[in-house]
């Protein structure tokens, strides 16, 4: 949530100031960081978006073995896992119209690691390519749907005693294809707050929740 507050502060004054460009004059023709008309979605600017937010992923992990447990023998319910990614980043580009493409990545940890009877240190990473469409049918709300394809990496290490002379580590990778629905609330023409819900197309009981702040180069992405 700190990311959301920080991003809000950065964009609250002038968008360009957040990039480190210090404007000496706000008079048309003298501006270096901004330009006339950045309050209108019709202004000629690239449709680029940076989303920063929080992602929570619930999934069933692959069977694994560590020193204290061999999970192959355990029921699948013990492999139910939750991952928290507090700083997921999404970079999107729209060539025009409804469609957009992009990429997202983030790193976090397993907030609900599999129960193995010992302390686990965990990490989690995700990378997705994105393709989607969005519309602005209602005043300050836009709706979107997207497909996310990529993979995740989970890493776990187990210590049976401290200090840890005999640690056991493993890293797993998994492919992911996910369909998502997104809702964005526009707070200003260049700042939106969004939530998203995704469901895997290739795995059961695999869902994602996201909340993010969107910073838009072109007001409202030039959407219609």
């Amino acid at each position: 949530m700190k990311w959301l507050v920080l991003a809000a502060l950065l964009v609250s004054a002038r968008p360009a100031d957040a990039r480190g460009c210090h404007e000496r004059s706000h008079v048309v023709g003298y501006e270096h960081c901004t330009m006339f008309g950045l309050w209108s979605r019709d202004v000629d600017q690239p449709r680029l978006v940076l989303d920063v937010g929080y992602l929570h992923h619930r999934f069933t992990g692959e069977p694994f073995s560590l020193m204290s447990a061999a999970r192959e023998t355990m029921p699948a319910t013990d492999l139910r896992t939750g991952a928290s990614v507090p700083g997921v980043h999404r970079l999107l580009y729209s060539p025009g119209g409804l469609l957009y493409i992009g990429a997202e990545f983030g790193f976090g940890w397993l907030s609900r690691p599999p129960h193995v009877g010992a302390d686990l240190s965990t990490s989690y990473g995700v990378f997705h390519a994105l393709v989607g469409a969005h519309v602005n049918p209602i005043w300050r709300v836009s709706l979107g749907a997207e497909l996310a394809a990529g993979g995740r990496v989970e890493s776990m290490s187990e210590c049976t005693s401290k200090p840890c002379p005999d640690s056991s580590e493993l890293t797993q990778t998994s492919r992911e294809i996910e369909a998502r629905a997104l809702v964005d609330l526009w707070m200003t023409p260049q700042l939106s707050l969004g939530v998203g819900y995704g469901r895997s197309l290739i795995a059961d009981n695999d869902t994602t929740w996201m909340i993010y702040l969107g910073i838009h180069v072109r007001p409202m992405d030039g959407m219609r």
């Binding site: 949530m1 959301l4 507050v5 809000a8 000496r24 004059s25 706000h26 008079v27 048309v28 023709g29 003298y30 330009m35 006339f36 008309g37 309050w39 209108s40 979605r41 019709d42 202004v43 005043w139 300050r140 609330l185 526009w186 707070m187 200003t188 023409p189 707050l193 909340i211 007001p219 409202m220």
Partner: protein, 151 residues
Amino acid sequence: MRYVAIVVVASGCISYSRGSFVDYETFPGKRVALGGCLDLSVAMVEDNTATGRIVQFTFGNGCRQRVTVDLGSVRAYTTDGGGCQRWLTAYDPNHELVPLAIEPLWSASERIEYNDDNRDAPQSICVDVGGVDGGVARSERWVCMAQGEVR
């Protein structure tokens, strides 16, 4: 969830309300009713870099539909020490002053410099803002102001 609620409420608070002439702060300068959705105020301001007559246009769309704002339609003149009127032109080296639509219930501002070949000290200016609101028929609406004049 508490933070989400705060942001949602805050986003509602920054909506522009028709006739209020207030968004984050009160619109500076003289208020002009254009007869349409657009509320406009104009003020003559100073700038560290630009040295001509600078007018700040602050406008809010009080309707639930988009409205075209045409600041390029503004005409301006100044009266010199001899009482003669001199027409001024907007400084727009990048040809940015094109009509653009503002979203419903949002507000914004722009600063534009007006000058001519005379580099005298900027003291006063009159602007015709009758064509700024693209939603109403153009008619002459002259507003005159002086440097430092707030109201």
